[in-house]
Symmetry: C2
Subunit: 505 residues, 2 copies
C-alpha cells in the first residue's frame, strides 16, 4: 500500500472506533441523566458489550498491523498522520498487553462501581460502595502491572497516561511549591478582619431559575448551545463526542445556587475547548484535547479567572439580578463579587474557593500514592484517612462520608486524574499571564466580549488539538515550562485585594 | 447439538441482536428529542452503521443455520422456542432476499427522509421532503419485489408484515363495512341541534402545566414512570426497549392543550402493553406485541374508550382542574366530557374525534393502494390527491400541506401501517365488549381503578406476547373473528347519547 491508501484505510478503521466510542458516550450519558432507573442493568450490559467491541477493535492484529505499516512509512506521512500513528501505537501497544478476559472483568467492575458509588453517595453509606471500590483498586493495580511500571512506579503509569511525562517525583516538587506559598497565604487571609456576607448565596432558588442562570453563564463565556446541551447529573461533567455534540451537565442545589452557576462555567470551559478543536484533525486520534491537565486548565480558567473576575462580574451581575430579583434585591455587585470569592476551608472540592482548592487536590494525591505504594491497603480505612488529611490540611473534619470520601465520582472508575486540576490551575494562570501581554482582558470582560478571549485560546491552544505533548504546548504558548509561581502570584494579587492584605516586600 | 445447547446458542445470538436494536432506539430517540440539532449528520452515520450491523447479524448464514437446526428439532423444542423459530425464520428468510447494498441504500434513504420530513413539516414546505419521499416510494417497491408479492400484490407484502394474514381484499371489505355505518351516523350527528362549547380547550396552557396534565393522565391509566419517561417530539410515539425501558413522547400545542393529554393517553396505552408483556418470553422474538393493530387497539382503547369515558372523566376532571384552575374555572365536568368528544370533521388525524377517525385512515389506505398499484405515480401529485380525498370523505380541504399530507411521520419511512389504527379501533371495541361481561368497567373507572382493567388486559392479551397470531389472539380473547360491528355499535351508543339522537329500530 502507498501512503494514500494507508491513510484511507486508517481513517475508515478509525471511523468505526469513533462511532462505537460515541455510542458508549450517548448510552452512558442517558444512563446518567434521563434513562429509567430500573433499566440500568440492561444498559450496563449494552455498555459492557460495546466496550468490549471497542477494546477488540482497538487492540486487534489488524489495527496494530495497519499502524505498524504506517510507522514504516513514517517519513512520507503528513505531520498529522505522523502524530496520529505515534499516539495510537502507544495506546494499542499498551492495551494489547491486557488479556481480553481481564479487560472485560475490569470494565465490568468499573461500571458496577460507578453505579454503586452513586447509590452510596445518595444514601450517604460508604459500605454500599466499599466492596466495589476494593475491586477498582485491585483491577487498577492488575491493569498497571500489564501496562508496565514507569520508573518503578505503577502510579506513574496512570499519571503518564493522563499527562505524558508526568511522574510522582515531578508532582511531589510541584505540590511542595504550591503548599509553601498557599498555606501561609491562607493563614493571612483567615486572619484578615475583612467581613464578607454570603447570606444571599443560600436563599432558595428553584431549579428552573437555576437552569436559566447556568445557561446564561455558559453562553456568556462562549459555550455554544446549538452544538451542545445542558442536563443535570449527580456529578457535573462534560462529554465531547464530535465538533457538533459537546454536552455538559450540572447539579442543582436549591440552597446553594452559585454552585450550579460555577459548575456551568467549569463544564462550559471544558465544552469550549472541545467545541473549538481544530476540525481539520477530525477523524484521527489527533482530534482531542492536548491532555487532561490542559482540559482542566480551561475549565478552571473559565470558572475562576473569567467567571469570578471582577470585570466579568460587573458585566453579568445585572443579568443574574433579572432572573432572581428577590434573591439579589439588596445585594451590591461588590458584595456579590466578594461572596463568590470568599475564602473558607470547606469539605467539598468542587465548591472550594480558588485558594483552598489545591489543598483538596493534595489530599487526594497523597491518598492515591498511599493506595499504589501499599499492597495491603484496607478499603475500610480510607474514609478515616481521608478525614485525617482534611483535618491536617484544611483544619476541618467531614461529618459524613457523603461530604468526605464519597464526594467525587473519579475513584469509582480509577486513579491518577486529580493532579490534573492542580496542574490545570497552574497552566491556566500561566496562560492568563501570557494572554494579558496581548489582550486587554479586563476591558474585554467588562464589556462581555469573552469571544475575543475564546478566539485567542482557540488560536493558541484549541487549534493545536493533540499535535503537541503538554510539555511542548505550554512551552509554545507561554515560552516556558510549567511554573506554579504564576498561579501563586495570581492568588496573592486577587486575595490581597479582597482581604486587604499587606503585600510582602 | 442437543436442544438445550441449541437454545443456549440461540439466546446468546439473539441477545446481541437485541442490544444492537436497543442501541438504535436509544440513539434515534435522543436524535428526536435532546441531541444537538447540528449533530444530526454524525448521528445518522452511527444509525446507518448499526442498522447494517443489525442487518448483517439477522441475515447471516450463521443465524439462518442456527434457526434451521432448531427447525429440525422442532418437535422437541418447548412451545416458546417453536414459536420463536417460526417467527424468526419468516423474517430471516424474507430479509436475506435483499442484497446488502440495497438494504444499506434503503436504510439511508429512510433515515434521510425522516429527517427532511420533519424539516418540511416544520417549514410547511412539501418540496423539502418530496425528493426523499420519492425515494421512499421507490425503495419500498424495490424491497417488496425482493420480499415477494403476496397474492400478486406488493402492498399485501407490507400489510402481512404488520398483521399476519391481512390483505387488500380483506381490508376493502372491512373498510366498506365501516363506511356504511359511520358515514350515515356522522350525517345524523352533524344535523343534531346539540351545541357543544369548546372555547376552554383553546385557552393558552403553558408547557410545564401541560407536562403535568400529560403525566397525570398517563399515570392514571397505568403507565409506570419508574420504567419509562415522557419527552416531547414533533410526532408522538412509543419506544419499547425492554420491560424496564418503555418511553413515550408527546407534542405540546399551547392553544390546544387536550391534544397533549390524549396523546399521553394514546402513547401511554402503547406503553402499558409493552410494560406488561410476559417477562418469561424476554430474550426471544416471542417477546413483543402480537401485532401492530393489537398495539393500536391498546393505544386507542386507553385514549378513547378509557380516557374519554364519562366515568373516567368524572374521576379525573377535578385533578385537571387543580393543575389549570383558571382555564377550567367556569367549566362543568359535563361540558368537559362533551367538549373532548365533540364530533367535527377536521384535518389532523391524531386530533380527530372517534367518529371521524376512521375516515382519515380510509384516505391514507386508498392513497397507499394508489401508490402500490401505479408504477408511475408522481410524488408531486400526492398533496393534491390527499386534499381531494379529504374533501370527499370529510368535506374539508387542508389549507396547507402541514395540515395535509405532511402531518404524519409514517410515510417518511414506508407504507402499510395506517390500517392498523382502524383495525385497532375495531379490536378495542370488540375486546371492550368482552371485558364488560366480566368487569363492571364503569364503576371501576368512576373510582379511578384502572389497574383492574390493566390486569384483565395483561392476563388476556399482554401475557400472550407473540405466542399467537393476531387472528388467533382476537378469537381466543373474544371468542370470534375481527368484527367491526362492535366498534360501530360503540360509536352509535356513545354519540347517540351525546348528540341526543333517536336510535334506529
Amino acid at each position: 500500500m502507498n501512503t494514500k491508501e494507508l491513510i484511507k484505510k486508517y481513517r475508515e478503521y478509525y471511523k468505526v472506533n469513533e462511532m462505537i466510542s460515541n455510542t458508549l458516550s450517548i448510552i452512558g450519558f442517558e444512563d446518567e441523566t434521563d434513562a429509567p432507573k430500573k433499566a440500568h442493568k440492561e444498559r450496563e450490559e449494552i455498555l459492557n458489550y460495546f466496550y468490549m467491541e471497542y477494546f477488540k477493535r482497538t487492540t486487534s492484529n489488524e489495527y496494530l498491523g495497519l499502524l505498524e505499516e504506517m510507522k514504516k512509512h513514517y517519513d512520507s506521512l503528513p505531520p498529522l498522520y505522523q502524530r496520529a500513528v505515534t499516539l495510537d501505537l502507544k495506546d494499542v501497544e499498551r492495551d494489547r498487553k491486557v488479556p481480553e478476559q481481564v479487560a472485560k472483568e475490569a470494565q465490568k467492575v468499573m461500571n458496577q462501581s460507578s453505579y454503586y458509588w452513586k447509590e452510596a453517595k445518595q444514601n450517604d453509606d460508604y459500605s454500599i460502595w466499599a466492596p466495589y471500590f476494593k475491586e477498582v483498586i485491585h483491577y487498577s493495580k492488575v491493569l498497571a502491572k500489564y501496562y508496565g511500571a514507569v520508573d518503578n512506579s505503577y502510579y506513574n503509569t496512570y499519571l503518564d497516561m493522563y499527562e505524558e511525562g508526568t511522574s510522582e517525583k515531578e508532582l511531589d516538587i510541584f505540590f511542595d511549591k504550591l503548599k509553601k506559598r498557599i498555606v501561609p497565604l491562607l493563614k493571612k487571609v483567615m486572619n484578615s478582619k475583612v467581613n464578607i456576607r454570603t447570606d444571599f448565596l443560600h436563599t432558595r432558588v428553584n431549579k428552573s431559575q437555576q437552569e436559566k442562570l447556568g445557561k446564561l453563564t455558559a453562553k456568556s463565556i462562549g459555550y455554544d448551545f446549538s452544538r451542545g446541551m445542558l442536563k443535570e447529573t449527580e456529578h457535573p461533567f462534560t462529554n465531547g463526542l464530535t465538533h457538533n455534540d459537546v454536552r455538559i451537565t450540572t447539579h442543582y442545589y436549591e440552597n446553594d445556587w452559585t454552585s450550579n452557576v460555577y459548575s456551568c462555567a467549569h463544564e462550559g470551559g471544558h465544552g469550549i475547548y472541545e467545541q473549538n478543536l481544530n476540525k481539520k484533525y477530525e477523524g484521527t486520534s489527533v482530534y482531542g484535547a492536548c491532555s487532561m491537565a490542559f482540559h482542566e486548565s480551561q475549565s478552571r480558567f473559565f470558572e475562576n479567572i473569567i467567571a469570578k473576575n471582577k470585570n466579568f462580574v460587573n458585566y453579568i451581575f445585572p443579568k443574574y439580578k433579572k432572573i432572581i430579583p428577590s434573591t439579589l434585591k439588596d445585594v451590591s455587585v461588590e458584595e456579590f463579587y466578594k461572596a463568590i470569592n470568599k475564602v473558607q476551608p470547606s469539605l467539598i472540592r468542587t465548591e472550594a474557593d480558588e485558594l483552598t482548592y489545591c489543598l483538596h487536590i493534595i489530599v487526594r494525591y497523597e491518598i492515591e500514592k498511599l493506595i499504589f505504594n501499599n499492597d495491603d491497603i484496607d478499603v475500610n480505612d480510607l474514609p478515616r484517612i481521608w478525614n485525617e488529611k482534611y483535618k491536617e490540611y484544611l483544619g476541618i473534619t467531614p461529618p459524613s462520608d457523603k461530604e468526605g470520601i464519597l464526594q467525587d465520582v473519579h475513584w469509582s472508575t480509577g486513579f491518577g486524574y486529580f493532579f490534573s486540576y492542580a496542574v490545570g490551575n497552574a497552566y491556566s494562570a500561566q496562560i492568563y499571564h501570557k494572554m494579558k501581554e496581548e489582550l486587554d482582558v479586563d476591558k474585554l470582560l467588562s464589556e462581555g466580549k469573552v469571544n475575543v478571549i475564546k478566539d485567542w485560546l482557540t488560536k493558541n491552544i484549541y487549534s493545536e488539538a493533540r499535535m503537541l505533548s503538554p510539555k511542548e504546548l505550554i512551552k509554545k504558548v507561554t515560552g516556558e515550562d510549567l511554573n506554579p509561581d504564576y498561579y501563586c502570584d495570581y492568588l496573592e494579587n486577587k486575595y490581597s485585594e479582597i482581604y486587604e492584605l499587606e503585600k510582602d516586600e
